[in-house]
């Protein structure tokens, strides 16, 4: 990737118009190679910024851990799930954590869209939407780390899932799909937001949905008017799938429901983010 600054300049016509400047050799700015390099550069940037943003790390890591401790040691004793509450709640915590982690993509994107960064990128010979790719990829990386930490702490607390390597892998893939879809949704929200604070607020629904799912309590224990919503909203099938896979059980229809939600949400969010980005940068 580092060996093409000597590619031919855009054309011989560049030189005569600026007689006093020695003709600068311009690298190629178009093509797959340039696009991949831009994405890699902006992913690297977003990952670096994430790692250095103490608030974001706290939100992505400490908060889910606190929630897990709270639910297992404080509320867990009073919740009847037909088994060890820890085993029940870990998939929910993982997805809650993914929600927090993905949600912080929105203010990060909004910061770039409302500050000077987007103008700088748009005035450079790159595809500025690589900015969103950078933020979403950093979000997935951040969530992978956060999820791993949550699972390790859960294992230390006595979480003993029955799943074999395949079950773990499948569960990880389902969580990844969920994180990816939510990250694109957050990126879309960050693109339209008029301010960083606004972007933060817009992700409220994403953070709230897990509480109205089977994450912490079985759906049938909820009041009757909530049951249909809790059962059919996207988070519940995803959680049920992860829970079954980790328990080494067949996931059943929940798996298809979860995959359909994830694929649909991912496609819709991606399309929305792309359209909003185009509109916002149209000039």
């Amino acid at each position: 990737m580092s060996a093409y600054p000597t590619a031919p300049a855009s054309g011989p016509s560049a030189a005569p118009s600026r007689p006093t400047v020695p003709a600068t050799v311009r690298p190629r700015h178009t093509g797959t190679r340039a696009a991949l390099s831009d994405a890699a550069t902006l992913i690297g940037r977003s990952v670096r910024l994430t790692r250095r943003d103490v608030e974001m790390v706290v939100l992505a890591l400490v908060l889910p851990l606190m929630m897990m401790l709270l639910f297992v040691y404080v509320f867990g004793g009073a919740i009847e799930t037909g088994g060890a509450y820890l085993d029940y709640v870990v998939p929910g915590i993982v997805l809650l954590c993914a929600g927090f982690g993905a949600a912080s993509t929105a203010p990060a994107v909004a910061h770039d869209m409302t500050g000077g960064m987007i103008d700088r990128l748009r005035s450079m010979p790159i595809r500025p939407s690589a900015l969103l790719v950078g933020h979403v990829t950093a979000s997935v990386a951040r969530n992978a780390v956060a999820t791993a930490v949550v699972v390790v702490v859960a294992l230390l607390m006595g979480f003993r899932p029955a799943a074999g390597p395949l079950g773990w892998l499948a569960a990880a893939a389902v969580v990844l799909g969920y994180v990816l879809a939510l990250s694109w949704l957050a990126a879309a929200l960050g693109t339209v937001a008029r301010s960083v604070q606004g972007a933060n607020g817009a992700t409220f629904v994403m953070l709230f949905l897990p509480y109205l799912s089977s994450a912490f309590v079985p759906v049938q224990t909820m009041p009757a008017f909530l049951v249909p919503f809790a059962r059919y909203q996207p988070v519940t099938p995803v959680i049920e799938t992860v829970r079954a896979l980790l328990a080494g059980l067949p996931a059943g229809p929940a798996l298809w429901s979860a995959l359909a939600w994830e694929a649909g949400l991912l496609l819709a969010s991606f399309a929305l983010a792309a359209a909003l980005f185009r509109r916002r940068t149209r000039g």
Binding site: M1, S2, A3, Y4, P5, S10, S13, A14, S17, R18, P19, T20, V21, P22, T24, R26, P27, R28, H29, T30, A34, S37, D38, T41, L42, G44, R45, R48, L49, R52, D53, G115, G116, M117, D119, R120, L121, R122, S123, M124, P125, I126, R282, G283
Partner: protein, 308 residues
């Protein structure tokens, strides 16, 4: 011609911001776009930098048209906006290297260029500190260093010294001057007359979407008339004098007791003026003549247009 603008227009809704602008910027020269707030400076700059589409007319940068070949334009031009585009949580060096990578310099070339630019802008010692810790002047210099990574042939600066202390401002002026001396075409917008006076080889005054004057600072000054007369009055005489003189041309109330007006510098004009004032019983206490400054030019051009 590095930047060639012909018949440029742009509106937002039914508000026309640019209305047939013609402008040329040449290599090795600094062209200052001067105008009050809301004159359309930023709109013009954003169109040249491909951030905004023109509604009419053509803009070519280093031979490339902004609408049909924006990528080529972006390869030649660099924009430093009103707001610095820096990542606070990256170091100065990381910011510059990142820009180099986005200009498609190789990894090593980007690093080399970053070191070179950081030294040039006296940021070598602070290069590995996070930008969060930088002063306003350092941030501006870093922003400019980032702009120069791709060795642009056209540098566009939107109000580059707004909010800078005088020392940082002087440093920035020096750097911009050096860049022009090295052959770069510089187009900068400003609302500060001293900035245009000190920095620009040519000044274009933008007012209500049109270029109302375009020339060197001296040419513009001579357009206003060779001499300005400044008259100091005692308290009660001022109002009467003001009334009397208003019919004679653009008049400015520049101090609590001072009036300022254009003259051809002849003794006859002065004599006539004083005779009239004397007849009205409001002879000034003091009269002085001076060469017009750029602010006289600015006021005359923009107020004259208001009345038409």
């Amino acid at each position: 011609m590095s930047v060639q603008i012909r018949g440029l227009s742009r509106s937002f809704g039914d508000r026309t911001v640019l209305n047939g602008v013609d402008l040329d910027a040449e290599p090795s020269r600094v062209l200052a776009l001067l105008g009050p707030n809301g004159a359309g400076k930023t709109t013009l700059i954003r169109i040249v930098a491909t951030l905004l589409r023109p509604h009419g007319g053509t803009v070519r940068v280093a031979g490339h048209e902004v609408v049909t070949d924006p990528v080529a334009v972006r390869g030649e031009l660099s924009l430093t906006g009103q707001f610095t585009a820096l990542d606070d949580e990256q170091t100065g060096r990381e910011n510059v290297v990142m820009t180099g990578r986005l200009m498609h310099l190789g990894r090593r070339a980007a690093r080399g260029r970053a070191t070179e630019l950081l030294e040039r802008f006296s940021l070598g010692a602070a290069a590995d500190r996070r930008v969060r810790t930088f002063s306003g002047g350092m941030r501006r210099r870093l922003d400019l260093a980032m702009s120069l990574v791709g060795s642009p042939s056209v540098l566009v600066l939107d109000e580059p010294t707004t909010g800078l202390d005088p020392v940082s401002r002087d440093e920035l002026w020096d750097v911009v001057g050096e860049l022009a001396a090295d052959g770069t075409t510089v187009l900068l917008s400003t609302q500060y007359l001293p900035e245009a006076d000190r920095l620009a080889d040519r000044i274009a005054v933008l007012h209500e979407g049109r270029i109302v004057a375009d020339g060197t600072a001296d040419e513009l000054k001579s357009r206003v008339g060779g001499t300005r007369l400044r008259m100091t009055f005692d308290g009660p005489g001022l109002d009467r004098a003001q009334e009397l003189l208003r019919d004679l041309g653009p008049l400015r109330d520049i101090g609590r007791r001072e009036l300022d007006l254009a003259s051809d510098g002849s003794a006859a004009h002065l004599h006539r003026l004083l005779a009239e004032l004397d007849a009205a019983g409001t002879l000034p206490e003091r009269v002085s003549a001076h060469r017009p400054g750029l602010d006289d030019v600015f006021r005359t051009l923009t107020t004259a247009n208001d009345r038409s």
